[in-house]
């Protein structure tokens, strides 16, 4: 019975992410268009884009075609596994199997996939792209680890279901650490979802999509799908970690509220992306460095019960 629920829940989460990801991208494009005084593409355009790419010839180019194919599958599947670890309106399907550390590993793996994709393709621009990706990853992943750690400290547990339930605010005293890390994560959120001003790794006007430069057809579709899903996954993680309100209302309501909050985050990402210029890698690193320091302060506060 338990296994059946796990399978059902995992299927539900994965399908929800797969369905929602292009829709969120569509919303993002449409809202961007509205801000830019344009008509914009139809809301469902990302679905058609993916279908079109999937239907194209699978071209083997780059240094190691086998690796490229594996990475393309891996990037999407990692995102889907993460999806099964997040409670989306009901308790996470893979609740028992992993803890916070696994989550951090998996998210790092998302970045690693991009690295591998760039390395396997091996063009100069891909290499510049992955070096940038690596630098942002090195500064961003610890930040996320700190956020999860603060939750774990307050929840006194590394279990995902207890951490991913607004536990950052569950301090014994006033939750200073929770609010600081909320601000930090909000300010760095564009970096996690790789949108302007922190879409440095794939900056189109500088290094032409960087790591993905050499990809086309179905493989590109998978990478694009993974990218779109990353937006949803990170928004979902952010929601469960920092915006837990309404999750205890029972299945259909909590599910709807969860997705509503996620969509709101996507809108926020859109508005910020549409009103900013891209930062340079060194500027971005300095910025993240400052946030990291703030994160450490929050961690210290948390360990003293705030």
């Amino acid at each position: 019975m338990n296994i059946l629920w796990t399978i059902l829940g995992a299927g539900a989460n994965a399908i929800a992410v797969l369905l929602a990801a292009p829709l969120c991208e569509g919303v993002l494009r449409k809202v961007t268009a509205v801000i830019q005084s344009r008509q914009g593409p139809p809301l469902l355009q990302p679905y058609f884009d993916l279908l079109k790419l999937l239907g194209k010839e699978d071209i083997e180019s780059g240094d190691s075609p086998g690796m490229q194919r594996v990475v393309a599958y891996l990037s999407l599947s990692v995102v889907l596994i993460v999806a099964c670890l997040i409670p989306m309106g009901f308790s996470a399907p893979f609740n028992g199997v992993g803890d916070v550390i696994l989550m951090i590993y998996l998210l790092t793996l998302c970045g690693i996939c991009t690295l591998l994709a760039g390395l396997a393709a091996g063009s100069t621009y891909s290499l510049i792209g992955i070096s940038r990706e690596m630098m942002t990853m090195i500064t961003l992943e610890p930040l996320f680890a700190i956020a999860l750690l603060i939750g774990a400290i307050h929840a006194q547990s590394f279990r995902l279901d207890s951490v991913l339930n607004g536990s950052v605010y569950a301090a014994r005293l006033f939750p200073w650490s929770g609010f600081i890390i909320l601000a930090v994560m909000l300010l760095s959120f564009q970096g996690y979802v790789q949108r302007v001003p922190f879409d440095i790794a794939g900056a189109e006007t500088e290094i032409m999509e960087g790591p993905l430069l050499e990809y086309s057809g179905p493989k590109l579709a998978l990478f694009k799908y993974a990218q779109m899903s990353r937006l949803v996954i990170h928004s979902a993680l952010f929601t469960t970690l920092f915006l837990p309100w309404g999750s205890g209302w029972g299945f259909p309501w909590s599910w709807m509220i969860f997705w509503g909050k996620t969509l709101l985050l996507v809108l926020l990402v859109t508005v910020v992306a549409a009103t900013h210029a891209r930062y340079r890698i060194d500027q971005a690193l300095r910025y993240f460095g400052g946030l990291f320091a703030a994160g450490l302060v929050a961690l210290a506060l948390a360990s003293y019960g705030h």
Partner: protein
């Protein structure tokens, strides 16, 4: 008079080396000197008299004087004088002393002279092929009069490759272009990258030659050329159109009627308006700020519409013929133009007030792409790039043409010498353009818009004209000729000089800043490349893509190691 004074100075200094001079009295001076003295004269003009270098021109004059001709053009901006130093070379030995060591800005022009006319610059510091495609044989010079405009030369080898210089030690080669999202036209920069820093670059451009100058000299006629000249550039076409017409008028001693001059001014300023708005948009796009890009284009669109109503096309105005313009402005259109300008001014003011305080944009543009006063002087940089470095220079005021004598406007300068200053200069110049158009509309009198030409244009006369394009000075030089067409027509677009400064501007900068630095000169490769080799059949592009692939393949192998050693 500035011209007589300069001539006197030259005479005192060089005496018999100055053969003769021609002072047409329209702000130009032609000095014929001995070929042996040309280097010294140019050095004297450039260093001692502080003239600005404009362009060097080689011409095949053999059918007429049995000689080759070389002209170096200089400008005295404060004295409102364009000065041409000319010399003749024997037909069997077209060699002349290079001035590039004294005047670094002449580097490209002298290389181009060698490629196209076959005039060797002796002592040139970097005598590498510049203009001709790699497949082109060495000894064929397409601008010589004995080469037909449509011939494919013998010895054309499509497999020949361009020999790049060796990259410096420890640098990775990153090919930038010929096709890149921020380059709207093909041009190739071979960047030497150390980590994320650009240590140097080699430029290989001139991939969009269309042979316009050769066509003009051999097939087209005087009044055909303006519409061709307009197609030199997709953005500042009207500038070339007007500059050509003025160069011919200067050569023939014609003066267009006042109303035509006003109309030229209005269209030139409309063009500047749309070009500056376009540039601000593109600069924002390069730094990833697409929203402002879209807004710039939205604000720009009514200008295109009013231009379409006035001239019949939104961009290619087809404005000039020799001695006037083709279409007049109706009273309804001028009141509509006034309304368009009012809205534009209001909207642009709100955008500028927001952007000038936006630290996000400043972060990407301040201290980036530095071109200081010294570089401006050495490389002959012009336009907003020079003005952003605090050099007070504007052809509209310095070498007045069309109706600019009759209107009031300020020359906008800034001191930062960086990309941000160029943003500020361009954004502010929009208001000056609006001011100029309003004055023109107010003071324009009804009258004819075309001269009634009697008789043909006399052959063998020279004329030049500098027009301030949105990107800087566009310089045209014409020698009138037989059969209703010029003997020689040379176009020097502003990007031709500004692009030569780019390697210095991007040196030791981050790779991310490369695109915006290049973008900040508002490069227009079609303008720069305008020229000579007509051959669309030579398969140039194919050769280049091969080369590209080979570059990529080679760089892949040695790029992996440095990519992991990036300083943060």
């Amino acid at each position: 008079m500035a011209a007589t004074q300069k001539l006197k100075l030259l005479n005192e200094k060089f005496g018999p080396a100055i053969q003769r001079a021609n002072l047409p009295g329209n702000g130009s001076l032609f000095v014929f000197v001995d070929a042996a003295a040309i280097k010294a004269v140019c050095k004297y003009l450039f260093r001692d008299l502080d003239a600005r270098y404009v362009v060097s021109i080689g011409a095949d004059d053999r059918p007429y004087s049995k000689q080759f001709m070389v002209a170096h053009h200089f400008a005295f901006d404060r004295e409102h004088l364009l000065c041409s130093v000319l010399t003749h070379l024997p037909a069997d030995n077209p060699r002349v002393d290079s001035i590039s060591e004294e005047v670094p800005a002449a580097n490209w022009a002298e290389r181009e002279m060698r490629d196209l006319v076959g005039i060797e610059s002796v002592g040139h510091p970097y005598p590498k092929r510049l203009v001709l495609p790699d497949s082109w044989p060495e000894a064929v010079h397409p601008l010589r009069k004995d080469i037909p405009w449509n011939s494919v030369p013998e010895g054309l080898d499509e497999d020949r490759e361009f020999q790049f210089d060796d990259p410096p030690e420890g640098c990775v080669v990153v090919p930038f272009g010929p096709f890149h999202p921020t380059l709207d036209e093909p041009a190739h920069f071979r960047l030497y990258i150390e980590g994320e820093r650009v240590r140097g670059c080699e430029y290989r451009g001139f991939m969009v030659h269309r042979g316009i100058e050769k066509l003009a000299e051999s097939v087209l006629s005087y009044n055909d050329i303006p519409v061709m000249a307009e197609r030199i550039c997709g953005i500042c076409g009207c500038v070339h159109n007007v500059a050509y017409a003025q160069a011919v008028e200067n050569a023939a001693g014609l003066v267009a009627p006042p109303r035509a001059e006003y109309l030229r001014t209005i269209m030139l300023e409309l063009e500047r308006l749309h070009s500056h708005l376009l540039w601000v948009g593109l600069a924002c796009h390069i730094v990833g700020f697409d929203t402002l890009f879209m807004q710039s284009f939205r604000i720009r669109e009514p200008i295109m519409w009013i231009a379409e109503k006035i001239s019949g096309n939104r961009k290619t105005y087809g404005l000039c013929v020799i001695g006037g313009v083709r279409r007049d402005l109706t009273p309804e259109l001028s009141s509509e133009l006034n309304r368009v300008l009012d809205t534009l001014e209001k909207e642009w003011r709100s955008v500028v007030s927001a952007v000038l305080k936006d630290r996000n944009i400043q972060k990407r543009t301040r201290g980036v792409g530095i071109a200081d006063k010294a570089l401006v002087k050495e490389m002959g940089l012009i336009g907003p790039v020079a003005r952003a470095a605090g050099v007070d220079m504007d052809c509209r005021r310095d070498h007045p043409y069309a109706a600019y004598k009759r209107v009031q406007f300020d020359v906008i300068t800034a001191d930062g010498a960086d990309v941000w200053s160029r943003v500020v200069v361009r954004a502010t110049e929009v208001f000056e353009s609006i001011r100029i158009i309003r004055q023109c509309l107010a003071s324009m009198e009804p009258g004819p818009v075309q001269l009634d030409l009697q008789g043909e244009l006399e052959a063998g006369r020279m004329g030049m004209s500098s027009v301030e394009a949105p990107r800087g000075e566009s310089h045209h030089f014409v020698i009138t000729g037989e059969n209703n067409r010029p003997r020689r027509w040379r176009v020097r677009a502003p990007t031709y000089q500004n692009l030569q400064g780019v390697p210095m501007m991007i040196k030791d900068q981050q790779l991310s800043d490369m695109t915006i630095s290049l973008g900040s000169i508002d490069p227009c490769f079609s303008c720069t490349d305008r020229m000579e080799t007509i051959d669309v059949r030579s398969g140039e592009v194919k050769v280049w893509s091969q080369k590209e692939l080979m570059d990529l393949a080679a760089s892949k192998r040695n790029a992996i190691i440095p990519a992991t050693q990036i300083p943060s």
